[in-house]
């Protein structure tokens, strides 16, 4: 049965300050961005709220721009905008690679980064890339007459299953890829789903490394995974396994072992099994590191 959405109210403020004022007190409306998650729930008769706050007229949430040497992505940035942006293509191509794997073009045209973060699905495709970039999520709220902002590291943003560090009176205003993450780092992204398009991931991952110009030892690494735990996760044990070592089949295999042992807790669900996910997660890491280090991963059996 289709849910009936005709009884719901919407406010459509034109400024962030006004939008935040509506969230500041009382019966808070639920933010609405591209609606690609919300309307699936609404059509299914699961109404998360009676009142909605349409963010589509807030210019403050739009735009892709250089900021402090890094890259700023407004919360209302769609996947299509990521795919078409020259700045993203030049400075953070892994983000465009991710955007191309979300749904299909009608979803890419509407779905937003802010909506993905707000929805906080453990299977969301943007999360692992944002974790790999060490991205910061900007949150804003109304404090009396003022708008106050704070930034939360992506690694601290996903606190529990479908729960984020954002307070109920806060809006996600954007994402910052810090300058540090865009200098000397290389990134790779891969997603495994049932088919190439319109498939929620069974496993999705992104890895970033900064290697020494001489000797090729890994100086820094950030690895993000989705669909393998109740939240998107930073794979810190896998990162530790490659630090100080050159990228190669051995270090990649060690990282995959560490990943399975410590970083991820895959489960059985309608999209896949824990066993499949664990195996694929390990292989995916070796493939990502192989891509970054220019080697072919080991061809172990099993």
């Amino acid at each position: 049965m289709r849910g009936d959405t005709t009884g719901f109210e919407v406010s459509r403020p034109r400024t962030l300050a006004r939008a935040l004022a509506e969230l500041a007190a009382g019966e808070r409306p639920m933010p609405l961005a591209g609606g690609t998650d919300l309307f699936v729930a609404l059509n299914d008769g699961r109404a998360p709220a009676e009142r909605y706050l349409d963010l589509s007229r807030l210019a403050e949430l739009t735009g892709i721009a250089p900021l402090d040497g890094g890259l700023w992505l407004g919360a209302s940035t769609t996947y299509t905008q990521l795919l078409r942006s020259r700045l993203v293509a030049r400075r953070a191509p892994a983000l465009a690679a991710m955007a191309g794997t979300v749904g299909a073009s009608a979803i890419q045209n509407r779905g937003t980064l802010g909506g993905s973060l707000g929805n906080a699905s453990p299977a969301a495709d943007p999360a692992p890339v944002l974790l790999a970039f060490g991205a910061e999520i900007e949150l804003a709220r109304r404090d009396g007459r003022r708008v106050t902002r704070r930034r939360v590291a992506a690694a601290d943003f996903f606190v529990a299953y479908r729960e984020t560090a954002a307070r109920p009176d806060e809006l996600i205003t954007g994402v910052l890829l810090p300058a540090e993450a865009l200098r000397g780092w290389r990134y790779a992204y891969r997603k495994v789903g049932t088919r190439k398009a319109q498939a929620i991931s069974k496993v999705v991952a992104a890895a970033g490394v900064r290697v020494a110009p001489r000797g090729g030892r890994v100086l820094e690494a950030r690895i993000g995974y989705g669909s393998v735990a109740p939240t998107p996760v930073r794979a810190r044990a896998a990162e530790a396994a490659i630090l100080g070592r050159p990228l190669g089949p051995q270090s990649a295999a060690a990282a995959a072992d560490a990943l399975l042992a410590e970083d991820i807790r895959p489960i059985d669900d309608l999209r896949s099994t824990a066993e499949y996910r664990a195996r694929v997660a390990g292989r995916l890491l070796e493939a990502l590191l192989g891509e970054l280090g220019g080697f072919s991963p080991r061809l172990a059996g099993g």
Binding site: R2, T5, T6, G7, F8, E9, V10, R12, L32, G34, G35, T36, F39, V40, L42, N43, D44, Y52, D54, S56, T80, L83, R84, G103, A104, S105, A106, I107, N109, R110, K196, A197, Q198
Partner: protein, 172 residues
């Protein structure tokens, strides 16, 4: 709320609940039943229309977000004298439509593609239609239809093609 929009080139003003689905506005309020509902959850593309030129699934769009904007549906493709759009003609000829439920969405997804990329590769066509599901045709004839239509449209307006060669049309 009071809505003003342009549907298939025609200005429309009406009163509607703000969270009503664009799909229902088109079908129920405007009687434009060419746009179909398949899944009602964004998966199948049967309800696809263009919102300011961009492909969207109208089952996921609240009408408040369509206010002041331009909507193109399958009903606006054919000429007012009934002449089929080259895409419709090609679907007809190649057998790109069987039961027809997916066809309105397929046509709109194809129209969105050809507006950006008048000479798409087969893989670009498949990517552009990846969110449109068809239970009948096996897709081969649909892809063929889009390629045929693209060729005819390029022949009909060669200027567009020249412009396309210069511009950064295909991103893939």
């Amino acid at each position: 709320m009071k809505l003003r929009l342009i549907v298939d080139g025609r200005p429309v003003a009406l009163e509607a609940p703000p969270m009503k689905r664009l799909l229902d506005l088109l079908r129920d309020d405007l009687g434009a039943t060419g746009t179909k509902e398949g899944c009602g959850e964004g998966e199948c593309g049967a309800c696809a229309v263009l919102l300011d030129g961009e492909l969207v699934n109208s089952c996921l769009v609240p009408v408040c977000q369509a206010d002041g904007r331009e909507i193109a549906t399958v009903e606006g493709l054919a000429g007012s004298d009934g002449t089929l759009h080259p895409l419709q003609q090609a679907f007809w000829e190649t057998g790109g439509a069987q039961c027809g439920i997916c066809t309105p969405g397929m046509l709109m997804a194809a129209a969105a593609l050809l507006a950006r990329d008048p000479a798409p590769s087969e893989s670009a066509i498949r990517t552009a239609l990846a969110g449109n599901l068809c239970r009948c045709t096996g897709y081969v004839k649909i892809v063929e239809a889009v390629a045929v239509a693209a060729r005819r449209m390029r022949r009909a307006s060669p200027r567009r093609r020249a412009g396309a060669r210069r511009g950064p049309v295909s991103r893939r």
